[in-house]
Every structure is written in structure tokens, then in C-alpha cells.
Symmetry: C2
Subunit: 155 residues, 2 copies
């Protein structure tokens, strides 16, 4: 993806976030929006302190709680996912329809990809139903090598 296209996607994602928040009557304040923008601008998962470092260039007074509060909001609104196995955060590619977190994490290139498999979702749901478990959040994270890295170096 060319940089120009990429930046356009980021801008678009922010507009979508604006609309979603307005529609829900919640406030995407400048701080929250800046954190989301940082996550959108990067394609790889970022730690809270990585975000903090970047945020400081726009908001020198930023401190850990600044970032964690923004992340808490963005997670609640489904605009961002947390990657439990990396202690990192990544912007959601389809925030308009909230969904369970399903990620493929490449250990070579660091790329993360949202899987969004309905069949996995359904199968897991029925397994949960079968044992009477009432889920309120699901985490699926698969670590390995992505197609591109496997093709580049099939070892």
C-alpha cells in the first residue's frame, strides 16, 4: 500500500470514529483522538509507552494515565483492540460493527492481521453454549509466520 493511500485510510478511519462517537453520544476528545491517530498511523501493535512517547511531541505534559485513559475509552468504543499476548494495542479495521478480537501475529515481520472469521466465531459460540458459559469477551491470538514471511524464507 502506497503511503498516500495509507494516509488516506487513516484519515478515513478517524472520520468514521468521529461519526461513531457522535452517534453514540460519547466524546472523542482531542487527547483520545490523538491516541487513536497514533495507532492508525502505525500498522504494527504499539505499547502504551510507545504511544506515550509519540503523544508527548504534541502534548508534552502527557503521562502514563493520559494514555491509559484514552486507551480505556477507545477499547470501550471498539475503536482499538488490546493484544493480550503482546501487551500492545492496535486500531480496529472495522469499528462500525463491534466484534470479538481475532488476531494473527507474525513473529518474523511483526505484522498483525485481524482474522474476522465468522465460522470460528460460530464454532466457539456453540462450544460455549454447550457448557453453559456466558461470554462477555473473547480473545483469540495466533502467533506464527505470515504467508509473506513463509514465502520469503521457507525454512
Amino acid at each position: 500500500m502506497k503511503p498516500s493511500t495509507c494516509q488516506k485510510n487513516c484519515q478515513n478511519a478517524l472520520r468514521v470514529a468521529d461519526q461513531l462517537c457522535q452517534g453514540r453520544g460519547v466524546r472523542l476528545t482531542p487527547q483520545r483522538r490523538q491516541v487513536l491517530e497514533i495507532l492508525c498511523d502505525h500498522h504494527k501493535p504499539m505499547g502504551a509507552y510507545d504511544i506515550l512517547d509519540l503523544l508527548k511531541s504534541e502534548l508534552p505534559a502527557a503521562k502514563p494515565p493520559t494514555v491509559y485513559r484514552a486507551l480505556e475509552f477507545l477499547l470501550e468504543q471498539g475503536l482499538v483492540h488490546r493484544l493480550e499476548s503482546l501487551n500492545a494495542y492496535v486500531s480496529c479495521i472495522h469499528p462500525e460493527h463491534p466484534h470479538a478480537s481475532q488476531f494473527l501475529i507474525c513473529r518474523d515481520c511483526g505484522e498483525v492481521r485481524e482474522l474476522e472469521s465468522r465460522s470460528v466465531d460460530r464454532t466457539l459460540d456453540s462450544a460455549l453454549k454447550a457448557c453453559g458459559f456466558a461470554a462477555d469477551s473473547q480473545v483469540i491470538e495466533v502467533t506464527g509466520r505470515c504467508l509473506r514471511c513463509t514465502e520469503r524464507d521457507p525454512s
Copy 2:
């Protein structure tokens, strides 16, 4: 489960671990075995520093690396799972056939249950295959309320 039965299960799990390690030519040293025993004796997930506190009663010189090294070994051997969303560890109930980590975590009673669903496993595998992703570890963690807690207080 009665205490006597439980303790028997723990002893049995340790014997199984002994045999597995012997068969694989790896060493379940006293330290490693003690950490595994602590995890087997408790049914709930434990943080590394919780384990450390208990370990100190038998091994006063124990320090964080002592525990983390033992956990690293036990994880490699599939004797223990790490719960990513809790930063905690729990002993595996079926170490004799290594498997992907699938957990149901009750937010009320704290109970964790290994799901071991073959259908979930298969569905995820085929989704991974479809996008050419070569997995080397899978994490599935579902948080919610277990059947018992739902029945006790259906709210």
C-alpha cells in the same frame, strides 16, 4: 471434589510429569517440580509473584528469576499454561497430549476451565490454512460467567 481426592489428583499429575520429562530426556529438577506442585495444589490461576511467595517457604533464597525460569521450562514442556489476559499461570490437566490453550475464565468465581474443543481447534486451523498462516501457538481465552455462577445469580 473432596480434599483427599484433590490431593491424590495432584500427586498423580506430578507423577505423570515425572514420566513425561524422563521420556523426553529433560530434567524436572526439584525447583521446577516445586513450582509445578504449587500450581497443581491450587485450582485457580496464580501470578508469578504469588508462586514466588509460596516457593519461598521451601526455598527461602528464591527470587523472581527462579520462578520465571521454572515457568519457562514448564511451559515449554506443556505442563503449564499461561493465561495471557490474567498474567497468570495454571497447570495443564492433560499434559500427555500437548494442545492449544483454550480457557474459559469466570469473572465472578475466578474459576478457569480448559475447553479442549476439537471443533474449535479444527475450525481455527482451517481458517489459518485458508490465509496461509503457519501457527506455532494459539491462545483462546473467553471471559464471562460460568454455569454455576449464572445459576446462583441469574442477573
